[in-house]
């Protein structure tokens, strides 16, 4: 278990203020926040890579505040992977295995096992300069895991990958975690990444830890405006009636809005929908009219690049979000009739 008490770190003009955090053994913990919020600084402090001005860090009850990084048994995978270019893949993975501690056979066995687990056996003799982003990520992960660390720190591990590779590796990361059971702290600015991977999430902004909780706690009950602005306040709809449509689908009527969603159970009481998961159009969308509704714009709140619209559908006042430029192009005004399309994957059962 990792316990951070009143930690303060100062780097130039940036200050990470009084962080208090407890991360449980074997947990997949995600630190979520916008760029420059101090996410990486927390990782670096846990790894012992930056000086702590105030406070303390305990790892499994042991005070690690002033412990050098090499003694913490914490593996760190930086955003750009930092694979050593003068070593090939095998040598990179072997780097952390000290000759005195692990014999040759054990080293080879461990490298072979990790290479198999991460699907990089065919890359072992390759120079790291020729690897793709996804391959580099796997090699970097193998190198980190080879030392049998107690904690794994991942700094934006999927941010430099293309969408499909990132999506695939997201599932893989969770699989490795479940298989190895290692305490993992993952830093990201991507809400979907946090939602899919995390057991618990910490929201950080401008050096302040704003909220720590489970996915549901964070997404459905943001503790303040900062968190709610960052994750977006969801629309919570109460369902009056549910009917099973078969094939794992149900129709839930919420405030005279018949919403279709995948669900194996019998009854849904409430559903949550994030504003970003509702698309707005001024023309009637073609195709079957499932989860598509006609509504009236009641309010428009423009921000720098984004606009938030309140749209009346049935008895519900739905909050939606769209790029400001798109709203201006469509000349959407208060009182106008618009069509809303609900993203089926974005519908959450509460």
């Amino acid at each position: 278990m990792i316990e951070i008490r009143d930690m303060r770190v100062r780097l130039g003009k940036f200050t990470l203020r009084d962080v208090n955090l407890r991360i449980r053994e074997g947990e997949y913990f995600v630190i979520l926040g916008p760029t420059g919020s101090g996410k990486t600084v927390i990782l670096e402090a846990i790894a012992g890579l930056c000086r702590i001005r105030k406070g303390a860090i305990f790892i499994n009850g042991e005070d690690a505040t002033n412990m050098p990084p090499e003694r913490r048994r914490i593996a760190y995978v930086p955003q750009d992977y930092a694979l050593f270019p003068f070593l090939n893949v095998r040598e990179n993975i072997r780097f952390g295995l000290k000759k005195g501690d692990v014999n040759r056979e054990e080293t080879d066995r461990r490298i072979g096992h990790l290479a198999h687990l991460l699907g990089i056996t065919h890359l072992l003799e390759r120079p790291v300069g020729n690897l793709s982003g996804g391959e580099k990520q796997r090699v970097s992960l193998a190198r980190a895991l080879a030392t049998a660390p107690r904690i794994l720190l991942l700094d934006e591990p999927l941010s430099s990958l293309d969408v499909s590779t990132a999506k695939y590796l997201r599932l893989e990361l969770r699989r490795f975690h479940d298989e190895l059971g290692i305490t993992t702290i993952h830093v990201t600015h991507n809400l979907m990444e946090a939602e899919e991977l995390a057991d618990r999430i910490a929201i950080i902004d401008k050096g302040n830890l704003e909220q720590v909780g489970t996915r549901e706690e964070i997404f459905l009950s943001p503790c303040n405006e900062t968190v709610s602005n960052f994750i977006g306040t969801p629309n919570i709809l109460s369902c009056e009636k549910c009917s099973d449509l078969g094939h794992g689908l149900i129709e839930a009527v919420c405030g005279r809005m018949p919403v279709i969603l995948p669900y194996e159970g019998a009854e849904v009481r409430k559903i949550a929908l994030f504003p970003r998961d509702i698309y707005v159009s001024v023309v009637k969308p073609p195709g079957p009219q499932l989860n598509r509704f006609r509504g009236i714009v009641r309010d428009i709140q423009p921000f720098s690049s984004l606009a938030r619209l309140k749209v009346q559908v049935g008895d519900n006042l739905l909050l939606t979000e769209m790029p400001k430029t798109a709203m201006e192009e469509m000349a959407i005004e208060v009182g106008q009739e618009v069509y809303l399309i609900l993203k089926i994957r974005g519908i959450r059962i509460v």
Binding site: E44, A47, G48, L49, P68, P69, E70, R72, I74, A75, Y76, P78, D80, A82, F84, P85, F86, F95, G96, K98, G129, R143, A144, T147, L153
Partner: protein
Amino acid sequence: MHSSRVYKGIRGEGVFRAATIGALALLCLFFVGILASLFTYTDWGTMAKTLFSREIFLAIRLSVTTATIATFFAVLIGIPAAYAISQTEFPGKSVVDTILDLPIVVSPVALGAALLVFFNNPVGMGIEKYFLRFVFEVPGIVLAQFTVVSALSVRLMKSTFDSIDPRYEQVGRTLGCSKVSVFFRVTLPLARNGLIASCILTWARAVGEFGATITLAGAMKPKTETLPVAIFLSLSTADIEKAIAVIITLVTIAACSLLVLRKIGKKGYPA
């Protein structure tokens, strides 16, 4: 209106391109012209005879040996010094940085004179008496070369260390390396090409060092006669053929060094 502006822009670009390439061509022509003029003063036979004379052989040997020793010491102290100035924050760092730049901008004759004065004070005289003689001796050549090139060596190596992403060292630390171990296992291999390039440039500069060498070690044939000193001595006795032969030797050494340097430059690690 719009098309005429575009045309003017294209014409302006052409003029700018011609002006910059013209300046480059002029400079190249200037250097090639100087070197080519050497061959108008002598013929191949005389030059070959002079080049293979014992005196020139001794001068080459002395220059290469002293430059190699000076480079060895410059690199030995330069690597940790460059690393410290590149990676460490300490009070008075800008002052130290300026002190290190001084030998690069101060005239080598002035540095040689300062060394000569140093060996005339009690500490210097003590070193001369009980440790090693430098004034008008071969070690003086090494010391003079070291004084001139060590700062250059530190400057070049510092830029190499500056270019290394600190993430590599950080990852090395989390993989179980101590600060010392990470320096040898991560930083030095990453800096390898840059360090080799620095060594070559330092060595080439040491071979060509004249001002500080002649001031501290003198110009005694053949005892302290390095290649640049040989040019000076030949010119002072109006032996133009010999001076030209030595100049060509020096230019060849410099050209070979730069060729090796370019080859190393192409071997950089992909980012």
